[in-house]
């Protein structure tokens, strides 16, 4: 009986495991491998193997870009969590009917074309647009200033894009939270913010962790946002990779940068996935359809 079950298990696991092995794992390995090849000035990778490409990552401009990428992603994650926690709290507390409606409102922009939403910000932040004119009116900005093409525009649009990724897991965790614990804490004399910090937040720990993961890691790889609303001083590592591939046709360099990013991404992922706990499975999509 046990043998039969194992065969069945392998059969059911096979399609997805095979597909992802071929089209996900192997490409990742290919990328790391090409990082060890020399550059061919006419494009593509040269023959033979070398570590020169990796060493060239010490070039002054890279650390600056890596640092900026890290910074922007951290800020985005922090802001998204700060925004998402009260929202998740609210959603978990209100009546079912309202909850459905609000969840729908939150999910819809998430399903809308990403490109279009970024474009919408280009329109909003246009130097002749009403936001800029409002700022000038309030004497908060000069007339010649442009709100676009700087790191703040990138940060703003990044937060805009990634907040839903934080809201959903936090809401899912908040929904399972036993709010009577807060009542109990209050009865015992805790102030509002105390019960919030010491009872609620630890209670949705898993949701917070998932939210951090789902915002920070994709944020690190942002490419479109700095490309469309960022300027020359707000480039992120994603742009550099794209530039190496599409403009410089320097595949080994692009691969080295990508490998670096992959390692930076795998680290938090493995830590969270293999944390001791309930089978280590953050329930990401639990929020849907509830």
């Amino acid at each position: 009986m046990k043998n039969r079950r194992s065969v069945l298990e392998i059969l059911v696991t096979l399609p997805s495991a095979l597909w992802l092995a071929i089209f996900f794992l192997v490409p990742t390995v290919v990328v790391m491998a090409i990082a060890f090849k020399p550059t061919n000035p006419y494009g593509g990778a040269g023959t033979g193997w070398t570590v020169a490409t990796w060493l060239s990552l010490g070039n002054p401009s890279y650390p600056a870009i890596l640092w900026r990428t890290l910074w922007l992603s951290l800020l985005t994650t922090a802001a998204s969590i700060v925004f998402a926690v009260p929202v998740g709290y609210y959603l978990a507390r209100i009546r079912k009917r309202w909850r459905q409606f609000l969840l729908l409102l939150i999910i819809v922009p998430f399903w809308t074309s990403f490109l279009i939403r970024i474009f919408a910000w280009k329109v909003l932040l246009h130097p002749d647009g009403f936001i800029k004119q409002g700022l000038v009116f309030l004497h908060l900005a000069g007339d010649g200033v442009s709100l676009l093409y700087n790191p703040w525009a990138v940060l703003l649009v990044m937060i805009y894009s990634y907040v839903p990724f934080a809201v959903l897991p936090i809401y899912a965790a908040a929904e399972r939270f036993d709010f009577q614990l807060i009542e109990a804490a209050r009865d015992l004399g805790a102030k509002q913010w105390q019960s919030f910090l010491k009872v609620f937040l630890p209670g949705i720990r898993r949701g917070l962790l998932t939210a951090v993961l789902m915002v920070f890691i994709p944020a690190l790889g942002s490419y479109l946002i700095p490309d469309l609303v960022g300027g020359p001083d707000s480039e992120m590592i994603g742009n550099k990779i794209a530039q190496r591939v599409f403009v410089d046709r320097n595949l080994p360099h692009a691969s080295a940068l990508s490998s670096l990013l992959t390692l930076a991404v795998l680290l938090p992922m493995t830590v969270v996935l293999f944390l001791p706990g309930r089978r280590g499975r953050p329930d990401l999509m639990a929020g849907e359809g509830k």
């Binding site: 059911v12 990742t28 805009y160 789902m214 990508s258 999509m285």
Partner: protein, 256 residues
């Protein structure tokens, strides 16, 4: 007990934040003026011009072909994966779960460059087929997660009842489990469809001649002008998306 106003305020603020750019887009799509900064009266001209842009229809056709194909295949593979993950708890499944989870958080640019270099190394020609392969790859994970969520909330007493009534394994699976799970599977399929239609970064890396998809076309339009056309196109896409999401949510509800 006095309730803090903060959560409500935060929620309202966030919704305003979300919808402000979208509202501006929608309103501007009816703006007769070419540039959104001045209002020149109501007009449908941009929608009419949209109808004549053959490049957009061509791109839309490509996007739809890929989306239908990719969501169909990824639903098959993803549902199987969800079954495996739910039913079995071996070490194999732990590794399996890691493999399914990784594409969800992996930055798109890494997947894009990986697939591009993979296809280049194999000498595969870039085109609609390579885009299709790429889309299935990232859709599997989403479908698996959605169906897995459904499975975890599933009331297995129905299965037990069917087994008690003498149904065998095959009947139970195909005539009880799958039909009841169908809303979840369809929801997963819808999610995959939307993700495929909307994908830009990965598609951009693996697209070839004549395989321009709608997002690539939109990117090109953003870069070289005609903002009002994009506004009109966006409004149409918004309406379609809203309908699709509403429909999907209804499906999930009906299942209860």
């Amino acid at each position: 007990m006095k309730r803090s106003r903060v959560p409500l305020v935060a929620t309202v603020a966030m919704l305003v934040f979300f919808y402000l750019p979208i509202m501006v887009l929608v309103i501007n799509s009816f703006n007769a003026s070419r540039f959104g900064s001045t209002w020149e009266g109501w007009s449908l001209r941009w929608y009419l011009r949209l109808l004549h842009e053959r490049e957009i229809w061509y791109a839309l056709k490509n996007s739809l072909i890929i989306a239908f194909g990719a969501s169909f295949v990824s639903v098959l593979i993803g549902t199987a994966a969800a079954f495996a993950l739910h039913r079995y708890a071996s070490r194999l499944q732990k590794a399996h779960y890691a493999m399914i989870f990784a594409p969800l958080v992996m930055p798109e640019i890494l997947m894009g460059i990986g697939l591009l270099l993979f296809f280049v190394a194999l000498g595969v020609n870039l085109g609609l087929f390579t885009i299709f392969l790429a889309h299935v790859t990232f859709c599997i994970s989403y479908v698996a997660m959605v169906v897995l969520g459904r499975l975890q909330d599933f009331d297995f007493s129905i299965i037990e009842a069917a087994q008690d009534l003498g149904a065998n394994w095959w009947t139970v699976t195909w005539r009880v489990l799958v039909p009841l799970l169908m809303p979840g599977i369809v929801a997963g399929g819808l999610l995959a469809f939307t993700l495929s239609i909307d994908d830009f970064v990965i598609t951009f890396f693996v697209a070839g001649p004549g395989s321009t998809t709608l997002p690539i076309r939109i990117y090109s339009m953003i870069k070289h002008g005609s903002p009002p056309l994009i506004n009109a196109l966006s409004t149409i896409l918004l309406v379609v998306t809203f309908t699709a999401v509403w429909f999907s949510q209804r499906l999930m509800e009906d299942a209860k």
